[in-house]
């Protein structure tokens, strides 16, 4: 069980309906099914990972969130999870809004491009940053739209999305992000985790 998965699990209500978009091998969904008794569904683009999920008894659909979210009925889930993949979409803004059409709440996590090591790496080396959370080079990264915690906050303001919880993660420590500490958290957090709802 990954550290971030524990945080995500803590945001999910017992017996809720959960859609995990990009559910990978289904380990988070399985954890939620066992510990939160959720009615879970998954969407995953990688066929092998779909097979692994299905073998765990999970209901997972092979598909591309960018194209297939449109087929999900509105308000059919309590929570939609998007774990560390927002930056990989062609149209991340649309994806966020789709998640909030399908589910009452969305839980979105991002690798924070505003993290000081990332900033310093670009500043000093003059090359695209390669870190633990951003392990690829510019030419082979799946990331198309990198953003910072502050960028995400700004997008939510732009699209009238309420940030219910904004959580920073750095070196295994978690903290709350508020308006007052946004600048510093944007500098010190490796990962941002957001619980958001439509206004």
């Amino acid at each position: 069980m990954k550290f971030e998965d524990d945080i995500l699990s803590g945001l999910i209500d017992i017996n809720s309906r959960v859609l995990d978009v990009g559910c990978g091998d289904g380990s988070l969904l399985l954890h939620l099914k066992k510990n939160k008794r959720v009615d879970g569904r998954g969407l995953e683009i990688d066929q092998k990972l779909v097979q692994e999920s299905v073998a765990k008894g999970l209901a997972v659909i092979e598909g591309d969130a960018e194209k297939d979210l449109v087929d999900y009925p509105s308000n059919s889930f309590d929570f939609a999870i998007l774990n560390q993949s927002l930056q990989q979409f062609y149209d991340p803004r649309k994806v966020v809004n789709e998640l909030l059409r399908i589910a009452k709440s969305a839980i979105i996590t991002i690798p924070n491009f505003g993290y000081w090591k990332v900033r310093l790496s670009l500043l000093l080396k003059g090359t695209m940053p390669v870190t633990e959370n951003l392990p690829n080079f510019w030419y082979n990264t799946p990331n198309l739209h990198m953003c910072t915690i502050k960028d995400f906050h700004n997008l939510c303001e732009l699209d009238n999305i309420n940030i219910i919880k904004s959580i920073s993660v750095s070196s295994g420590k978690i903290g709350n992000i508020q308006k007052s500490n946004l600048e510093i958290k944007n500098l010190t957090s490796e990962i941002g985790i957001f619980l958001v709802r439509k206004s």
Partner: protein, 382 residues
């Protein structure tokens, strides 16, 4: 001319005669009917390990082990058996010949009790719904209230879908493979080509060939050839045959089989005619053409599956152009819309529609994973 002859033995077909009335979609009531079937593995004590497998157009009840009629391997030997994806060490697999079929279940080849002659075209037109309803009587006979899963590919997948709409309480899960919720214009067109080929054969004799001692070999063989092309992908055919010549070094400037693919098709066509009844081919293709879960539910596919707690696993194959992935996705979307527990996998392969019948490890992994995990849930629930 008999190109290929098989030694067939119809004497060891296992069947039950059901003393029931089956009200068919066409309005006819079938009073008493036979269902030929096979079982593999052992039914466990709490009857939680039964799996009903539905066969496709040219299939039969011999899903695995040896087909006692043809002496060949069962049609789904790759997937079902000891240690296979559907493991008969663990599960009790049932497979029945469909109503209208020609391997022992009541169909156009069998004797009409009212005339003492084979039914031929006097047999009522049956539907996928009729086929499924008949097989539920077999489950009753075997004392199985609820199956672990109903599984089928192609027409078998249609039966698996139909089963869920008709008997939502009688299965825990369902695996419709390489199928659609209704037959497309292209599907119907291919089937019509097959039927026209059969009817154009003089030996068909207006459907009375069994009484007049004839067999429409050419018509049925051509029907099968046309079908066979549609079961394979362009790339699959190209990889397997390309432009390779059949046992010759150059073109012969004639209409004999110059190319390997021609010879292959001929073999597929003519090796089929001994084991399959031409009228049965007409009836079964008609049943497929009539299949339309959209129409049966006023255009709303979701409502067909409403109020069911069945777990679904939908599988399609990337190069299947007969029942393309888009058709499977329509089913997935309809199930999603009602919050059903549905999984979906598109297997990437060159083997076209026939992928489910050949050795396709990624498909078998999905099948095994889903069935085994469903069993873990079901055995605790029952």
């Amino acid at each position: 001319m008999v190109l290929f002859e098989m030694n067939l033995n119809f004497n060891n077909i296992k069947k039950i005669t059901l003393d029931k009335t089956l009200a068919l979609d066409c309005g006819v009531e079938l009073n008493g009917f036979d269902i030929a079937y096979e079982t593999y593995g052992t039914l466990n004590e709490n009857k939680s390990n039964a799996i009903l497998v539905f066969h496709a157009l040219s299939g039969d009840q011999f899903a695995t082990e040896t087909n006692t009629v043809t002496g060949k391997d069962g049609w789904w030997s790759y997937a079902i058996g000891k240690g296979k994806a559907v493991d008969t060490n663990k599960y009790f697999v049932i497979c029945a010949n469909v109503l209208g079929g020609c391997m022992g279940s009541t169909g156009p080849k069998e004797i009409d009790p009212s005339t003492g002659k084979p039914y031929g075209l006097n047999f009522p037109v049956v539907t996928i719904k009729d086929m499924v309803s008949a097989q539920v009587h077999l489950l009753d006979y075997l004392g199985i209230k609820k199956t672990l899963s109903v599984i089928g590919g192609s027409m078998g997948g249609m039966q698996a879908l139909q089963f869920c709409t008709l008997f939502p309480e009688r299965t825990f899960s369902s695996i419709p493979i390489a199928c659609a919720a209704s037959h497309s214009a292209q599907n119907i067109a291919f089937n019509e080509l097959a039927r026209q080929a059969i009817m154009a054969d003089q030996e068909w004799d207006g459907g009375n060939y069994l009484t007049s001692g004839k067999i429409p070999r050419k018509g049925l063989a051509i029907a099968r050839m046309a079908g066979h092309i549609s079961y394979l992908s362009e790339q699959g055919l190209q990889n397997k045959f390309g432009r390779k010549l059949q046992e010759k070094s150059d073109l012969k400037f004639s209409f004999d089989a110059d190319f390997e693919v021609e010879s292959y098709l001929k073999y597929q066509g003519y090796s089929f005619v001994d084991r399959f009844d031409a009228n049965s081919y007409m009836y079964i293709t008609r049943a497929m053409d009539y299949f339309d879960l959209y129409k049966a539910n006023n255009g709303n596919l979701s409502s067909a599956f409403k109020n069911s707690k069945i777990k679904y696993c939908i599988v399609s194959f990337s190069t299947d152009w007969l029942y393309p992935t888009s058709e499977s996705k329509k089913i997935v979307i309809a199930l999603n819309a009602i919050g059903a527990e549905v999984s979906f996998v598109e297997i990437v392969t060159n083997n076209g529609h026939d992928s489910f019948l050949v050795n396709e490890p990624a498909f078998f992994n999905t099948l095994r994973g889903f069935v085994d995990s469903a069993y873990e849930d079901f055995k605790n629930e029952i």
